[in-house]
Amino acid sequence: MTVVADFKYYKNEDISASITLPLTESIVELSHHIIEEQKLHPYEEDDLLNALENFVYSNNENHNDKQSNEALNITLCVNNDEDIIRYWEKQFKEETVSYGDKSGSSDSELFSTAYHKLVHSGIALDTMLQVEQSYAHDVAKLIQQRDEQIEKLTKDQEDMMNKKLEEVQTGNISSEEINNLEQMHIEQQSFMLVKWISKIDTLKETQRREFRDWVMKLLEEHQRTITLQSSFSSPSSPAVIKTFPPITSVLHETNDPQISSLEESFTIHLGSQMKQIYNIRILSANILDLCSIPYDTSNNEQQAQRIQTALALYTNDLCGTVLLTDINVDSMGVSKDFIEEASKSSDFHVDSIDKQLDIIKLHALDARSAENYTNTGSKKKGLIPGDVVITKHSNLCLAHLVFHMMVDESLYSSDMNSRHYIILAIRNIMKVCCSYDITTLTIPLLLGHEMTENMTVQWCTKRAELVLKCVKGFMIEMTSWGGSELKNLQFVVPKGISEEVFNSLATMLPSIFRVSNPLVFKVK
């Protein structure tokens, strides 16, 4: 707001100057400028200053008074008292503690505190992991039985069908009967499936309840007798904990012994003056393996990772993994492989993956209707490429949160640039990491889970360079967001990658990020 000020000063002479309000400088400075501009005498300084001060203060006052009086008059005329009261009541109730509703800790909060305490107590950790293991084993056994039975049923049905088909050829049975039979088979199949699903779900639900009760009880016990007694009884029966044969034989074999043969890590720093230190690792692996469920008690590395994940669950150092979901295949946002993997054991801390997906589906509809998407066409309801769905897990090996990034076929084009939606999605993910204390993030470097034909050496290098450079930019940007900063960043490349390509990608890392050179302590 610029006003032209006229005021009387020394000897009542009038002077006018144009002043921008609110002032960006002090009144003293302003008076000096006016003296300079209007070529006033230095001895008039004080009078001018006084006049200016009066002018500025009274101007502010008048402006304030007028505005407020107008607003008061409006209320007197319109009688909008109730709106005003409602507004302030809402503000105070929602945003302040003294006037807000007293909310006690929720169930999940209590459980989380209990679990966190126990897992960090040192004594209970082993027992808890063993219990989890035994539960997982039970579920796995059930799943195995289910698969066997369904397989058997399918085989029986096939045999029967073949027999009948032969009869058709001989003309004993009409095709109608065959159709009926088929219908019946399908019904049998789905009936059996439903039966099993409910059976498994019931088991999981029981397990979950038992586990949670047990943890709460354990904590009470623990608090009563802080003396180290490792005689914690396990939930249902004391005999549950026993040694298990490795379940890997039961499940399909996913664990390649050479899982991490191609791997390299660096410590890097970012920033021109203030240097931030990060750990970066590149490895070749099947990214789904990283979020697998750790059954194999003999696999030490996996067990260590499992303990790490359990310890960090309710802390401010979470792990996240980015998974790609082809939106044309899995429109609900999460790939089938992952759902299968995640439901292999019960989750004691969060909803089962199916339940989470149901909630997400509701939210997905919300998200689009909230934004003004009418102009881009009505078919874009629900998720679109570039959206990210987030699921939580407590039972996976190396991830608390999984970011499911929706992608489509444009992913494979060779001319992806930094404005591509998928890069923006990575930025969005990193922003979430920043706000929710996710300090370890795993990203598929080539933005693909498997090696395909068109992934030439050239293509790989180009893609990796793009991703690395963009991620670097986001990391620098992140430091100014005021949240938590990433500590570890993992880049995963598909398993089938040749050693040669892997090495060329690995050498790219230290050239893009600056490897920190440590201060060496020298003995004098």
């Binding site: 407020s68 302040t96 920033g271 203030m274 979470l318």
Partner: protein, 756 residues
């Protein structure tokens, strides 16, 4: 003199005797409180109008809060600090004790005289705040501290509306419902509304009503009923609100007994028409307050021992408390604040392509909690308990060394070899340093004290006083405020665009310098320098050079400007000429000579691979390393630089090369370029020690420059007239030169700072 000294000694003995008593309680302890709140989080927006990412609101608040540190008034609690945490958490630290006006109202029975006294105190505090452009906005009895002994009041929480940019940078409403003025309420939906000083006058009116009627208003009403009551006041007789309130409260009898002046005073405060409601400054002249000043506060009756620590300013005590292990975040946690849901429970469900967040769980713990946590100072008191009272009043007469100090001095000598970083974290050591130096600084610019200050600064500079010590070392004095105020910093100049581009890239990891306030201040100081030095130009790098001074003197632009403009001629004379090539060329060739003089092998290697100083050293010297080092390291470097002469930076350059020697010797041209494109981590303390050593063993003639300022040039150095051609690889040695270096040894003793 001797007599005076004896008297002093006797006083100390008495004091120390007193301190040997075992059983005692302190009569008054330093009172510091802390309160936590959250800044509004930016979520969806990608970047601001300048194309750069948005500055978090907590940073803006931090920048704006700095000015509160300068507020000193008997009626307001001193603001001490604002601490920023992750996820937009903020903790405000201020003077606080656990007794407020609310306790007084509850207990009731206040005389009219007392009301007069209270009203006067509150009004003068408000008038003081208004003068500095601050509106309290949440004035309430809870926010007024009351000292039962002295009947003194102190306002607190007065800065929250100001620092949050009129509440726009926080989620919660600012105000206390019962005391909010009707105009604030009706403009709640208007986002552009900014409260003026008169809203506080209304709040004061309600507070005085409660005091006068001896009753807490609307105690049993809920939120919406309270607001309805306030809004009802704008209808009906607007000139007699006080009577209406009394009638409504069934206290008409009490009302009738009150003096007319008081009634009128309260009615003026509670006028709904803004134009007739007076400003705090005007109300001070109201007849009701005519002899309020005469109301003398009773002197405190000391019970228990006097705590000498109280003689130190509160911000210093807070600084020492932090050194002694005090942590506001931990104190908050102890009181059940600063506890949040684990992020695993609150994460969101979907992030859309556009960056919209869906399905978050709100954590109720981030709501605004007005609870104030008193910080426990006991650990610090205990830590400093054994310190003799004499340490609080150091003497500097060299003729009469305090005996008691000798053993202390020995201890200090043992301490000195400890690394600087450890010394800076040592509570007792810092206590002694701060007490000593602040005493010396009080005497500045008395010339005799300068040598003492230099002597102390040579040992080290306590971070708490760094800004003041630097100002002394740069000999800044005189009416700098006036000089600065007279420079036109608003006028548009062609360099503005470049300054605007540079500032958002200058030391932005630093919270203060990345705030909006920091940007404005840096820009003003830079523009002032450009405007007042027409012979020079704005060169990129000047921003980095200016940043340390602005950071250290954040609330005092004039001092920052004065330091900055004395620093440049001292160390960078003529570096900012439009054509500075001759100056820079000479400087760099001197640098080459110096490398050759001290490390022939390295010099040979560098010249072999053609890695000349022009390729890496220009930003070093043009910004005195402020472009390549983070501020905390730069401070340690400049602590020593300011004691050295204009040639000292060259030695710093040499010592940096010394640290990287091995790497450089084994690298080719490309590796060297890459290495220096982003200066690797440097052990700064080593670098400082090395450069002082090299400085002391180097003949002055090597660093003689024709382009050096006449004022800073050392006498004797210009005796060496054999100014060899600058293109030469190393300085030629001849007889005259050797004589020169002999002479230098004599001259060296005149150099003020690095005598050994």
């Amino acid at each position: 003199m001797a007599k005076l000294y004896e008297k002093y000694e006797a006083l100390f003995q008495e004091l120390e005797l007193a301190s040997s008593e075992k059983e005692f309680t302190y009569f008054k302890k330093p009172c510091i409180g802390a309160m936590m709140f959250f800044a509004l989080q930016h979520k969806d927006e990608m970047c601001g109008t300048n194309g750069l990412p948005l500055t978090p609101n907590s940073i803006s608040i931090l920048g704006r809060s700095q000015i509160l540190k300068t507020l000193k008034h008997i009626g307001i609690a001193q603001h001490i600090d604002l601490v920023r945490g992750k996820h937009e958490k903020l903790i405000i630290v201020f003077e606080y004790w656990n007794y407020t006006l609310y306790n007084i109202i509850e207990s009731g029975g206040i005389s009219v005289e007392q009301i007069k006294h209270l009203a006067h105190q509150i009004l003068s505090a408000l008038a003081y705040l208004n003068k500095r452009g601050i509106v309290h906005r949440c004035l309430s009895p809870d926010n007024i501290l009351y000292n039962k002994d002295t009947r003194q009041i102190k306002l607190y929480n007065y800065g929250i509306y100001y620092i949050t940019d009129s509440g726009s940078e926080v989620n919660f409403p600012i105000g206390t419902p019962k005391y909010m003025s009707p105009e604030t309420l009706v403009q709640g939906l208007n986002k552009d509304y900014i409260s003026g000083p008169k809203v506080d006058v209304w709040s004061l009116g309600i507070i005085l009503t409660e005091l006068a009627l001896g009753r807490v208003l609307w105690k049993e009403l809920n939120l919406s009923q309270t607001f309805r009551k306030i809004l009802s006041l704008i209808r009906g007789d607007a000139d007699n609100v006080f009577e209406r309130l009394a009638r409504e409260q069934d206290h008409l009898e009490t009302y009738k007994t009150l003096p007319e002046e008081l009634k009128d005073f309260i009615n003026q405060c509670l006028r709904t028409n803004l134009e007739t409601r007076p400003l705090p400054q005007l109300l001070l002249d109201h007849p009701f307050l005519s002899n309020a000043q005469d109301n003398i506060c009773p002197a405190p009756s000391p019970v228990g021992r006097k705590l000498l620590l109280n003689s130190r300013p509160l911000d210093e005590i807070y600084h020492l408390w932090q050194l002694a292990g005090g942590d506001v975040w931990r104190e908050m946690k102890k009181e059940g604040l600063n506890r949040f849901k684990p992020p695993f429970l609150t994460t969101l469900k979907i992030v859309t392509r556009e960056g919209q967040w869906v399905g978050e769980t709100k954590d109720d713990n981030i709501r605004y909690d007005t609870r104030v946590v008193s910080l426990s100072i006991d650990s610090l008191i205990e830590r400093l308990a054994h310190i003799p009272p004499s340490a609080y009043f150091p003497l500097f007469e060299t003729e009469y060394p305090v005996k008691r100090y000798l053993d202390k001095d020995k201890e200090k000598d043992n301490l000195s070899p400890l690394p600087l970083i450890i010394r800076e974290r040592d509570t007792e050591y810092q206590f002694h340093r701060i007490v000593q130096l602040s005493r010396l600084l009080e005497a500045y610019p008395y010339s005799k004290v300068m040598s003492q200050i230099i002597k102390e600064a040579k040992i080290d500079i306590p971070p708490f006083l760094r800004h003041k010590v630097w100002t002394c070392l740069l000999h800044v004095k005189g009416n700098i405020e006036d000089i600065y105020a007279r420079i036109n910093k608003e006028k548009w100049t062609p360099t503005d665009r470049q300054i605007d581009v540079d500032i958002p890239r200058c030391h932005q990891y630093n919270e203060l310098l990345s705030s909006k306030t920091g940007h404005t201040k840096l820009k003003r100081v830079l523009k002032a320098w450009v405007a007042s030095h027409p012979q020079f130009e704005y060169w990129q790098g000047l921003d980095s050079l200016c940043a340390p001074f602005v950071f250290l003197n954040f609330n005092d632009e004039a001092t920052a400007y004065a330091c900055f403009s004395t620093f440049i001629p001292k160390y960078l004379h003529n570096f900012f000429l439009h054509d500075n090539s001759a100056v820079v060329r000479e400087y760099l060739s001197k640098f080459s000579h110096l490398i050759a003089f001290h490390d022939a092998e390295l010099a040979n290697h560098l010249s072999e691979i053609n890695f000349i100083p022009d390729l890496f050293a220009i930003p070093w010297f043009l910004t005195m390393f402020s472009h390549v080092l983070p501020l905390h390291k730069l401070f340690h470097l400049w602590d020593k630089l300011l004691l050295g002469d204009a040639s000292f930076p060259l030695f710093i350059g040499v010592s940096i090369l010394q640290q990287l020697r091995e790497t450089l010797l084994s690298s080719g041209f490309n590796e060297c370029i890459l290495l220096f494109s982003d200066l690797p981590e440097v052990d700064i303390e080593q670098c400082v020690t090395d450069s002082i050593n090299i400085y002391c063993i180097t003949p002055r003639s090597i660093t003689f420059r024709t382009h050096e300022s006449q004022h800073t040039r050392l006498e004797g150095a210009d005796l060496q007239r054999h100014n060899q051609s600058l293109g030469e690889f190393c300085s030629s040695l001849n007889r005259g030169r050797l004589v020169g270096s002999d002479e230098h040894k004599v001259k060296e003793t005149q150099s003020p700072c690095y005598r050994h």
